[in-house]
């Protein structure tokens, strides 16, 4: 199912290669059996923008992430990212193009340490050569040291607790810390676009807001990071998003600022209808 892409050029720093939007999704469609999970969905995301992707359960939000990141192959439509066409690319290629994601249900490697989990996200920037890894241990040592420093600094910006125990297994940590590790894993490679799939799931109101503040702080430091966030907690969307796209039954039913879509009659019906 997975396709391999063997060429592994290190990810470039976010240099705006081409003008225009960072992400341009055109008429994306995806069906499972007879069910149209995504039907002709189009939207754009500018550089540095935060877009809230909202809609009732089963409206196609996560499916759109899965199509975007190459886990599912779209039936129709195009995904243009940073001047290139990434439609139907393998997940590995999508990641190398500069898109990193988190998952709705935590997908950390519980047996591995915090550092290991963050380094999984850093795959493209680490030297994967067989000779380097097995025989050039001196150079490897330097790379580990600098990677550890970077990962610890990133973890510290979310939680000093994590930064103090980079070699503790993830399995023993509470949900909030795991969520933070997942986000560190996505951010460590300095992606151009971050896809957050319900970061608030399993967390309290305060924890969610804290987490969003931390993400925004990292974003300010890294510069130029764009975000698409799927979220049920509307307070979060209202606070962080520059614009919103509303999906219902796989179709886009509204688009605009949070205030605009929140007052949209169709949107209100969609939410009330599904409640």
């Amino acid at each position: 199912m997975m396709q391999t892409t063997d060429a592994a050029p290190a990810m470039e720093a976010a240099v705006p290669a081409t003008p225009g939007p960072l992400l341009d999704i055109e008429a994306l469609s995806k069906s499972f059996g007879g069910v149209r999970a995504l039907n002709d969905v189009s939207f754009c995301l500018g550089r540095g923008e935060i877009l809230g992707l909202i809609g009732p359960n089963g409206s196609g939000k996560t499916t759109s992430f899965n199509v975007l990141t190459g886990l599912y192959r779209p039936d129709g439509g195009k995904v243009l990212f940073d001047g290139g066409n990434i439609t139907g690319n393998a997940p590995q290629a999508v990641y190398r193009a500069g898109i990193a994601r988190t998952f709705q249900r935590s997908r950390l490697c519980l047996e591995l340490s915090i550092f290991d989990n963050i380094m999984v996200g850093n795959h493209a920037r680490l030297n994967q050569g067989l000779i380097f890894n097995l025989f050039n241990r001196k150079a490897f040592r330097l790379e580990v040291e600098s990677a550890l420093e970077e990962a610890t600094a990133l973890a510290a910006s979310f939680s000093p607790f994590l930064a103090e125990r980079m070699f503790a297994p993830v399995g023993a940590l509470p949900m909030i810390e795991r969520r933070r590790i997942e986000i560190c894993r996505a951010l460590i490679s300095r992606p151009k676009l971050l896809l957050l799939d319900e970061p608030s799931a399993g967390m309290t109101h305060e924890e969610t807001h804290q987490l969003m503040d931390d993400i925004l702080a990292v974003r300010d430091r890294q510069g130029g990071l764009s975000i698409i966030i799927i979220e049920h907690e509307m307070g979060v969307i209202e606070r962080v998003s520059d614009s919103c796209v509303v999906l219902n039954y796989g179709e886009k039913i509204a688009e605009g600022s949070y205030q605009d879509v929140a007052s949209d009659r169709q949107v209100q019906e969609a939410y009330l209808g599904s409640a």
Binding site: M2, C109, L112, V120, H123, L130, R137
Partner: protein
């Protein structure tokens, strides 16, 4: 006692553990009667439990983190000392060398399913491919016998490539059926193939170096040693190499990618890890290691026959990995020693060994899935001294 152990520097604790192990191993190997062997096994169980209670094992394993090189060297010295003690005796040396070669093969399996999650139930078949390579090439071709050993690994890896496509394209249980089928058919194939010796098998020549044949025991300090001394030393060298390489692999970015593939293929793909390449690398590297061990084993035994490389033998290799602890190289070596030596010393259970070890592994899976010496969290570099207490 506990207080004393806790004040011991980890390296000293490790030295103590290896020293006790050495004394025990020498005493154990000397025993002839079943009663003595059984008492010593019971004593080992109690002693291991006690060592755990007073913190010796924990303390010693700290050293494996802070001074991995020194601990590995101690292990090597312990093996050398054992070999030296029994330098004149065929049987103990044969047993030691067998332990080391089985441990090497199990390290190869560890790369495959301990780290990467690629199951291989044909371990004995790849071991056998190495052994049959020795049988066909040592003394019967122009190749210098010592070159046949790496060639045995290469051939095992190449034949493994036939299976790699279905193994890599599919997940877990499908790879199981492919390798099990290969394992079962490998024996059938050997039995019906007359050029390879058929059911009786064939003899294998000794490894030779210029001016040195492994068929003769070297005279060391005027002492005539067993010819198995050559093989025990060669086995130690092969095991040492495999151990160092597997450790380095584990403590590298590649090792991390292999773990990630085992634990979550979807997330790995989304973070750029080439799933197929990781699985192919693990499968090929594992078979290579297994094949080299098999090539030396074949030459050491002096004959190969299909009955030595059955599916049940493959399961014994799997049992070694599980008993020691998946992904734990030290555990693998310990488990290989238990699984190989116990039935040899206790002839009464020789007949029951497949039953015994399958039941032991079932118990391990149910009650202690992390194995005897659980794998430690990956530290890429030696742990800083000041962190050791954490």
């Amino acid at each position: 006692m506990r207080a004393f152990i806790l004040r011991l520097p980890p390296l000293a604790a490790a030295a103590l553990a290896f020293g006790l192990g050495l004394v025990y191993a020498v005493v154990f190997m000397e025993q002839e009667s079943d009663v003595a062997v059984i008492s010593l096994v019971a004593f080992a169980a109690v002693a291991a439990f006690a060592a755990g209670r007073i913190g010796l094992i924990r303390r010693a394993s700290l050293a494996a983190g802070t001074h991995p090189g020194a601990v590995a060297a101690m292990g090597g010295c312990m093996a050398l000392a054992l070999i030296a003690v029994f330098a004149e005796d065929h049987f103990p040396l044969l047993m030691l060398a067998t332990v080391m070669l089985y441990a090497t093969a199990a390290l190869g399996l560890n790369v495959q399913f301990g780290y990467t999650g690629v199951v291989n139930f044909a371990g004995a078949a790849f071991f056998g491919i190495g052994a049959y390579t020795s049988a066909e090439l040592i003394g019967k071709s122009v190749l210098p016998p010592v070159l046949v050993l790496p060639l045995g690994g290469l051939i095992a890896a190449v034949i493994g490539l036939v299976l790699v496509f279905p193994v890599v394209r599919t997940r877990g249980h499908y790879a199981a059926v492919v390798t099990i089928a290969f394992s079962v058919l490998f024996k059938t194939f050997l039995e019906v193939n007359d050029t390879l010796g058929g059911p009786q098998g064939q003899s294998v020549g000794p490894v030779t170096l210029p001016g040195w044949s492994f068929a003769d025991g070297p005279v060391v300090f005027g002492v005539e040693t067993s010819f198995y001394l050559n093989y025990a030393l060669a086995a130690l060298l092969v095991l040492g190499l495999a151990f160092v390489m597997v450790r380095r692999l584990e403590r590298s970015w590649i090792g991390l990618a292999l773990d990630a593939v085992r634990l979550d293929e979807t997330a790995s793909a989304c973070y750029g890890i080439p799933i197929r390449r990781a699985k192919i690398l693990a499968f090929v590297a594992g078979n290579l290691i297994i094949g080299v061990a098999g090539a030396l084993y074949g030459s050491m035994l002096g004959y190969v026959a299909p009955t030595s490389f059955t599916f049940s033998d493959s399961l014994i290799l799997v049992a070694i990995v599980l008993l020691g602890g998946m992904g734990s190289p030290w555990g693998t070596i310990l488990a290989a020693a238990i699984v190989v030596i116990l039935p040899e010393k206790l002839q009464a259970i020789q007949e029951y060994r497949f039953l015994l070890f399958s039941v032991v592994v079932m118990a391990i899976l149910l009650f202690r899935p992390e194995g005897l010496l659980p794998r430690a969290v990956r530290r890429y570099l030696p742990v800083p001294q000041n962190e050791e207490a954490a």
